[in-house]
Symmetry: C2
Subunit: 184 residues, 2 copies
DNA sequence: TGGAGCGGAGAACGGTCGTTCTCCATCTGG
DNA sequence: CCAGATGGAGAACGACCGTTCTCCGCTCCA
């Protein structure tokens, strides 16, 4: 196992554990046990737990947005592409072990004490909002729609996380559809 | 200082500190120092930190919903009462030290490890959603509007918490107004 | 006035956890 | 086959923190 391999294994294990149990209730030995990467190597690659947390959020951001974009790219009609965001949310909400939005959760846990984490949450949410804004623009819809569409998506993530249901995605989709049709 | 007074002082200090810094980064001695209630008395009233956390959330739930209801009761026209929720959100978001929704934050920090906290978050959100549903019914609007209106409010809380801006409240209000008018 | 109890300050205890260190087995090149 | 490097297992260290305990001063009533 070389350094890059150890890094991936550590990130896989850490991301899974942090998301499932929260950052502070996972200790470095849990990550060692789950990843098979020794503590010595872990600290060679990530000099502190906080670096590991940040690397997890960073990698997850890239992957999350890529998965969303790949799903949306399965649609061609511009307004359908906007609504596809909510269809993808429903798929995400239905995944095993779904526990809400990792960034919203991280903000609740660490946002007040780690400026680095708070900044990553802001960056992730801005990136998502920017993507939504691009879909809105591509559909020739007014830019003012982006805000409400984003709020519906955020609200759906929170409610799905708290209740464990996928329904909020459908609710948000229907509300989005009404707002879109209203703008025609 | 009697027991009831100590309880109130402890709750005041704990709620403020927990909200500002997160539960896990506030220790019992911080609460003792901020409240002036000795550790011995603190543990007489709340036998464990977790009980104190739960008591904070419980009291805050009652107060939060009372403040919202008092604001809404300043309006008489039924549809205006629905929209008043978002006006109140804007006031809340603008308060000094606003750091997002305490329940969403608590869910992110403790939801995965404390079933009691998770249940309180669900209960609070259901209560808020139920109140919104009653406003919708009183306005003679279709019950199906409640879901989207709730998601807009939740999304606004998250975005306001992360960005520190009050704008999400106005965005949510405008989207809500469109959804309402669309249902006439 | 005195002793009995109440309450506060803060030390102490026990457990947890981030981080580092020790020791040993296994490789590698000569 | 050997000297040195590498890396793993897990002990050790030090800090933090929830919770309890000790000690002492105060009060209150007989």
């Amino acid at each position: 196992m070389d350094g890059a391999d150890a890094r991936e294994r550590a990130l896989d294990a850490a991301e899974r554990l942090f998301y499932a149990r929260g950052v502070k209730s996972v200790d470095m030995d849990d990550i060692r046990a789950a990843s098979g990467v020794s503590l010595k190597r872990l600290y060679q690659v990530f000099p502190a737990k906080e670096r590991l947390v940040e690397a997890c959020l960073e990698r997850r951001d890239v992957q999350w947005r890529a998965r969303l974009a790949a799903y949306v790219d399965g649609r061609t009609e511009p307004q359908e592409r906007v609504l596809a965001v909510y269809d993808w949310l429903r798929e995400w909400f239905g995944e095993d072990g779904f526990r809400g939005c990792a960034w919203i959760n991280a903000y609740g846990e660490l946002g007040a004490t780690s400026e680095a984490v708070a900044a990553q949450v802001r960056a992730h949410k801005e990136a998502f909002r920017g993507y939504l804004g691009a879909l809105v623009a591509d559909a020739g819809l007014p830019a003012a729609l982006t805000g409400p569409l984003f709020l519906l998506a955020e609200g759906a993530m929170v409610r799905a996380g708290v209740t464990g249901s996928t329904d909020p995605a459908a609710e948000a989709r229907e509300a989005a559809r009404v707002l879109l049709s209203r703008s025609r």
